[in-house]
Symmetry: C2
Subunit: 351 residues, 2 copies
């Protein structure tokens, strides 16, 4: 009981998370719709309608006028389902999926689950290298993946070039914009359905979209792609289910709609500007101190701060993560303010 | 916006759902912990501790003194993961899973995902038939499944007998008590880790446990079984992840703990009595009217009310479901009161 009464979470030293505090409208909607289940749409009709609204709004964000899709438990489910669509649609006994080396670890989870071979191409300057990707693609390739806002560096792969590669090989093309999707519309990147021949996409309202967890997003260019996922549901009033999970969170769905209605587009644009400025400011401060900094492309900063120093910052309560190359990694989420970063840099200077 | 402001859900005519209104303590905990992510335990430490409490409490409910496990997105994830553990642990290229025909449709989802063959044995009197199950088991059987509280009839399979079958074949044994798990402790059934050599179990706090969605449960007799699910997590502060999803709902975890702390065991016992009495009352009322009723074993009533009549009841706002055999199916969840059922029967009489 005691633990339930303790403070659930302070965000004032969290620099490691790709989640954030939900927008007040998103929190309110999550609380209102807590006892609903979009997994049973005939029983819970209001939230089922809201899910259609959520998918429409996600289509608006990603340049897809008639989107198919649903609100997932998160980016991992959406990535797994994209691999599953491609595997089920293809006609091969030995399917493989080609990803850049910086793809999210959920693709390894998907490979284990789905029994597909994962082929990883080395990156160049933290972005997918089209030539290296092309070398791995063959007749058994069912899916090519591009990342729009990588987990480790926030970098954007050359999406139009990768889409071409995929379709030349008759494979599907998936974009993982789980984290980046609500920052990218305000950047110059070419990343979405309107920019390239993208088949499926992951974009998570519960990250930069400022919805409450769990609200991930899977989008597909056409409903036929989702049909690859359909399982019969004998006892529900509805008869087919394409989602990975069964019972699902109405709180997540409602809060996704509430966040997008409150923030799209001007609120998100303003957030992008503020977070990008913060990232550039932190990158400059770290560079001035002699650290090797990966120039931020989206609001995420990586720098070669030594592990012993990172441990000391953790002891002072900072939640910071690291890249695979053991760099310090700071994710500039909406809750990360300039004053938090000033205080972080002051602690860094103190050691 | 309008839709967000409409009433999220009335439960006063919902007889079809296996979810219910969360207990007030569960709702409060869900709201407090809305912005936490147990999928990132080093960043969100309080909720990670709460998840350990949840697993301990689930162990208490299911006769497992040192439980391994975690809070899943729901029963589907838990069932998928049980199949995945068995598949990954076994040494066969052609794995199969033996389930009774009334197993939940999530096992079909698991079979598609995981590339295992699903073998379904006919039931006898709505329960798994041990002989029929035995006939399907062979050297490639990696998992045998028993259901403790079936989705369609609420019946309980002969768990100890099925456990023996499984272990004689060196397969794992999984019990799906997703719905029944919080009613069964107060019945005479033999269904849990203390009654038989069960390896893994699904038991969902967000159903009869009265937690908020999403709070399912996967339990395992030993942590080594969960290791079969481990995937490296390069960028998190923790380094391994066994869950199917990545980011997860802290609201679900906290509300599971709150519900179990508030209700175990006396509150759940009282709920079992009330719901079982309601089910028996409804079964009697329907039988008196000449319907063929499946005698309820747990608080779930099925009866051969004709489909046109069921459609009329739906038109009057009743949310009712059907079995695979097209029977009317009424799930006596905690929100289903005697007066709701009286009003339902009155509507039935009206037609």
């Amino acid at each position: 009981m005691q633990r339930l009464e303790s403070a659930p979470q302070d965000f004032d030293r969290v620099l490691s998370s790709m989640c954030t505090e939900p927008h007040p409208a998103a929190r309110q909607a999550a609380e209102r719709f807590l006892a609903t289940n979009p997994g049973d749409p005939e029983t819970y009709q209001t939230v089922a309608d809201l899910e259609r609204d959520a998918v429409e709004l996600l289509g608006t964000v990603t340049g897809l006028p008639e989107p198919a899709g649903y609100v997932t438990s998160g980016g991992t489910e959406a990535n797994i389902q994209a691999v599953r669509i491609a595997r089920n649609r293809a006609d091969t006994d030995d399917p493989n999926v080609v990803v850049p080396t910086h793809a999210h670890f959920s693709f390894w989870k998907a490979a284990d689950l789905l029994g597909v071979e994962l082929r990883t191409a080395p990156a160049r300057d933290h972005r997918a290298d089209t030539d290296a990707m092309a070398e791995l693609i063959d007749a058994d390739t069912v899916l090519v993946v591009g990342v729009a806002g990588s987990t480790e560096y926030g970098y954007v792969d050359p999406i139009p070039g990768l889409a071409e590669l995929a379709h030349d090989a008759d494979a599907l093309f998936h974009v993982d914009a789980a984290w980046g999707g609500f920052y990218l519309p305000f950047s110059d990147h070419r990343w979405h359905f309107g920019h390239a021949d993208v088949d499926t996409m992951t974009i998570d309202p519960h990250k930069v979209g400022q919805a409450a967890v769990p609200a991930g997003g899977l989008l597909a260019r056409s409903p036929e792609l989702l049909d690859e996922l359909a399982i019969d549901t004998p006892y529900l009033e509805s008869t087919k289910q394409v989602t990975l999970t069964g019972t699902r969170s109405g709180a997540g769905v409602a809060s996704a709609v509430a966040a997008m209605e409150a923030l799209w587009p001007e609120g998100y644009r303003e957030q992008y500007r503020r977070s990008m400025d913060n990232a550039r400011w932190l990158a400059d401060e770290l560079a001035e101190r002699g650290y090797d900094v990966v120039e931020p492309e989206l609001p995420l900063v990586a720098a070669d701060v030594s592990q012993p120093l990172v441990e000391k910052l953790r002891d002072r309560g900072w939640r910071v993560a690291r890249t695979g190359a053991d760099e310090l990694r700071v994710v500039c989420m909406p809750h990360v303010t300039r004053s938090m970063l000033r205080s972080f840099v002051a602690d860094l200077d103190w050691y």
